[in-house]
């Protein structure tokens, strides 16, 4: 095989500087507002910071999950744009930095960090072996370390293959991915429990980890879809990626929209039906005052609209529609996290001010900047992957 054939005519192309500058600008705007917010309303800012943290984990960890999933399942169609997901997974590196302000302010956010409460509240006293600051911080650091470790293990192997084109690297990544997936399942569940569920330390739900997982994969897939379709339209990826690839992306988005709804409904129905006060309190809080509107909005935004939008075959093949719904779903996931975290901060009704707007801007800035920095001097396509040819020729 000649070298031009093995590279499939791929020519390295860099993202315009504009993209990075936009990312940087958004990041700075968001950061400045967030810092001001911290001095004006520290507690409220920290709750927003939790949303930001879990949102970035969603995108980073979810993307890494999709990369691992492709290796483990031996999927073909996604090979030509696996690298895009790898770039998105790089946001995992920022996670400890985002968590830093939170780790110093645990006292303001988590009710269970107050020792006087833990002594007097019998229920919480029983949870003390799990709910204590030391263990919490250790857990988070271990999780973050694992994520970053697996991120490097998988992406570096993948990158190495660009030049060496060795098949054994694929095999190595399959093994790493197979180990990563159980690690992912556990860490994502306990991240959800730690950062979101323990905001209400009395409340509990066994499906909570799965609920966050469903949002995570949805958000990562949406971010990936947006990036892939945009890059493909601008010619950064290989030629020949067309309707069949788009259709697969759209179908997955559609499937995970349904999965999220299924998990959310399961959790709601069981708690609503059994009507035990220690469980219903959580949903009642989210039905109190103006929170009701956010709850209703969430059903419409994260399920009904994307469901009907992506239902038909042509809409799954339409790049424009895919991009629109990708952004839509990302926003929906952000609202979802807001709905999970914020009711603890403001029980009477939802709050929406400039602080709440600063953090999404910061989130977009982080993702865009990390993506553009990571993609610098790097191939957008895993040109050394032995499955690449089949991936391009993929037909439904």
């Amino acid at each position: 095989m000649s070298s031009s054939l093995t590279n499939f005519g791929y020519q390295q192309k860099e993202l315009p500087v504009k993209v990075r500058n936009i990312g940087l600008a958004l990041l700075l705007i968001g950061l400045v507002l967030a810092v001001i917010g911290y001095f004006v309303e520290p507690v409220r800012s920290m709750f927003n910071n939790i949303i930001l943290l879990t949102f970035i984990i969603s995108i980073g960890l979810g993307s890494l999950f999709f990369v691992a999933l492709e290796y483990v399942t031996g999927a073909i169609w996604s090979v030509p744009f696996r690298r895009v997901m790898e770039f998105l997974a790089a946001t995992l590196l920022i996670v400890p930095i985002i968590a830093l302000p939170l780790l110093f302010n645990l006292h303001d956010i988590f009710h269970w960090t107050h020792p006087e409460v833990m002594k007097t509240d019998k229920l919480l006293a029983g949870k003390a072996p799990y709910l204590n600051e030391e263990f919490f911080i250790v857990r988070f650091l271990v999780f973050a370390a694992l994520w970053i470790l697996f991120y490097y293990a998988i992406t570096l192997t993948s990158k190495k293959q660009d030049s060496t084109k060795e098949t054994k690297l694929t095999r190595r990544n399959i093994k790493i991915s197979a180990v990563f997936i159980p690690v992912f399942a556990l860490t994502v569940s306990f991240t959800a429990i730690d950062w979101l569920m323990t905001l209400e330390p009395h409340w509990f739900s066994t499906i909570y980890g799965v609920y966050y997982f469903s949002g995570t994969v949805l958000a990562a897939l949406a971010a990936g879809t947006y990036a892939i379709v945009s890059l493909n339209e601008k010619g950064y990826l290989l030629k020949g990626l067309d309707k069949d690839h788009y259709y697969s992306l759209g179908a997955l988005l559609f499937a995970f929209v349904n999965f999220w709804a299924y998990i959310a409904f399961s959790q709601f129905l069981l708690i609503w039906y059994a009507n035990l006060p220690e469980e219903t309190i959580w949903f009642l809080q989210r039905w109190d005052g103006s929170w009701k509107y956010i709850s209703i909005l969430l059903m419409i935004v994260q399920f009904l609209v994307p469901y009907f939008g992506l239902l038909s075959q042509p809409s799954k093949k339409d790049g424009k529609k895919l991009k629109f719904f990708a952004v839509w779903i990302l926003a929906a996931h952000y609202i979802d996290l807001y709905w999970l975290a914020m009711p603890t901060f403001s029980k009477e009704g939802f709050v929406l001010g400039w602080i709440e707007l600063a953090y999404p801007i910061l989130a977009v800035g982080i993702v865009v900047l990390v993506f553009s920095l990571k993609s610098k001097k790097s191939n957008f396509v895993a040109i050394g992957d032995p499955k690449l040819k089949r991936g391009i020729e993929f037909k439904l």
Binding site: Y130, F204, I207, Y208, Y262, Y273, K389, R390, L396
Partner: protein, 455 residues
């Protein structure tokens, strides 16, 4: 097999057989008289079935009192077996619908068989709630039709959801199965020289002509059916889990039940399909159609779902402790160390530990170990339902009413009979219908599709 070439697609069917060769091979069991082995097998299953029929007869004549059910364990083997068999019935639709949507071509070799098993498993499962209602001849009242009491069914009851879910599931699975069979009936119709068979196949093939104007719509409908069957298959075991989870019995009321039950159902269903397939491919010489690669992929799914089930066990345990609810904490301690600890540890070792052996490629690809592990999985999944139903009920909120559940001979007779019914139907199926979809397999043989290069 250490040198896998990722750059070429693995053939679903090994050895590039001709289309007619495949057809002959698949239809061979239908055209030959059953041999001695078949009669031995069916006499065993019929004996088992007879044992079950006796058990059922005793139950109908004397009543549910023949069973071990008593206060506080009002749901005994009846519900355990029901959930077990409905679970077995999940693999078929998963293989035929979800893997179809995921474009997994290896499913083509096993889809028909798995779908057949789905239908038989759901039929077997349907017996249990029917006799459990006590007077099965009045079961018509489970459906909302205008009756002389002018009262309607209770739509709020998860048991009624079951009626809708299981009957819908059976109907749709059957339709799905039949739609898949139509082209095969047409092929059989053209192939057979027997006049009676020709008439029968003509009727069931509805006059299918393999017209491409038809194929186009047919493929569309297959896709639509798969699209509907996918949420349906999830909903069925979800609703079965609601039977337990909407109550407030500790150990039953936990929000992870729906996905956990679905994973468990797929887990046990795949194990059962794999068990039977190992025999089928050997007896009918389908080794190159149902390849080791296919079995390996099934084993991977068994590993995945087994681990998911393990995750659910662990999460339940953790949250029970975390919740601080005494009754919940007690229930889980009681499961692991109480009077039913033996069942619990059978469940854990069969469901969580034994599939972990599938991490080893060698075990995934050799028949005897995979067969043994799959049997363990089936045993484990039966015990999972046993643990859920029995251990939670036998020790609920009121210690004065605690009691140990002891199944009776009738219980076991019906359990044995359910296996007898299932395997009798499976055996008859292998002789009456093509157990591998002829049209679908032809479509994935190497060289069966145009090369796309010309245009």
């Amino acid at each position: 097999m250490s040198e896998v070439d990722y750059s070429v697609e693995l053939s679903v069917v090994e050895g590039r057989p001709g289309l007619r060769e495949i057809e002959d091979l698949i239809t061979k069991p239908l055209e030959s008289k059953p041999d001695k082995k078949f009669f031995i097998a069916i006499s065993i299953t019929l004996t088992m079935l007879m044992i079950g029929v006796i058990g059922l007869g005793l139950t109908v004549y004397y009543g549910i009192g023949m069973w071990g059910n008593n206060n506080p364990v009002g749901w005994g083997f009846g519900i355990v077996n029901f959930v077990f068999w409905v679970g077995i019935g999940h693999a078929g639709t998963l293989i035929s619908a979800i893997l179809f949507l995921l474009r997994q071509k290896w499913r083509n070799g096993i889809a028909r068989f798995a779908e057949g098993m789905t239908i038989f498993a759901v039929m077997t499962a349907g017996i249990f709630p029917l006799i459990h209602v006590g007077r099965p001849w009045l079961a018509g009242y489970l459906f909302p039709y205008p009756n002389q009491h002018s009262i309607w069914v209770n739509f709020t009851s998860p048991l009624l959801w079951d009626v809708f879910a299981v009957s819908t599931y059976f109907t749709v699975s059957f339709v799905f199965w039949y739609v898949g069979l139509i082209p095969d009936f047409a092929a059989l119709r053209e192939k057979t020289s027997n006049k009676i068979k020709h008439i029968v196949y003509s009727i069931f093939s509805l006059g299918w002509r393999g017209s491409n104007k038809h194929w186009q719509n047919y493929e569309m409908v297959y896709l639509i059916l798969a699209g509907f069957a996918t949420p349906l298959v999830l909903s069925v075991h979800t609703i079965v889990s609601f039977d337990f989870a909407v109550s407030i019995i500790p150990g039953w009321h936990t929000t992870i039940f729906p996905p956990y039950f679905v994973a468990g159902a797929v887990f046990s269903g795949f194990a059962m399909v794999q068990n039977v397939l190992i025999f089928v491919r050997k007896i009918f010489n389908y080794e190159h159609i149902i390849t080791i690669d296919t079995l390996e992929k099934m084993n991977k799914i068994i590993l995945l779902t087994g681990t998911l089930v393990g995750y659910a066990y662990a999460m339940e345990f953790f949250i029970a402790w975390y919740s601080g609810v005494q009754a919940e904490q007690f229930t889980f301690i009681n499961r692991a160390f109480g009077p039913y600890a033996w069942a619990y540890w059978i469940m854990i070792s069969c469901n969580v530990i034994s599939p972990q052996l599938f991490w080893f490629k060698k075990l995934r690809r050799s028949l005897v170990p995979m067969f043994i592990i799959a049997v363990f999985v089936n045993v484990g999944m039966w015990f999972e339902r046993f643990v859920i139903v029995i251990s939670s009920l036998s020790r609920d909120f009121l210690p004065s009413s605690w009691a140990y559940f002891t199944p009776t001979a009738t219980d076991f007779a019906i359990l044995i009979g359910s296996f007898g019914l299932f395997f009798t139907l499976v055996l008859l199926f292998t002789k009456a219908l093509p157990v591998v979809s002829i049209a679908e397999i032809k479509a994935v043989v190497d060289g069966a599709q145009p090369t796309h290069k010309e245009h």
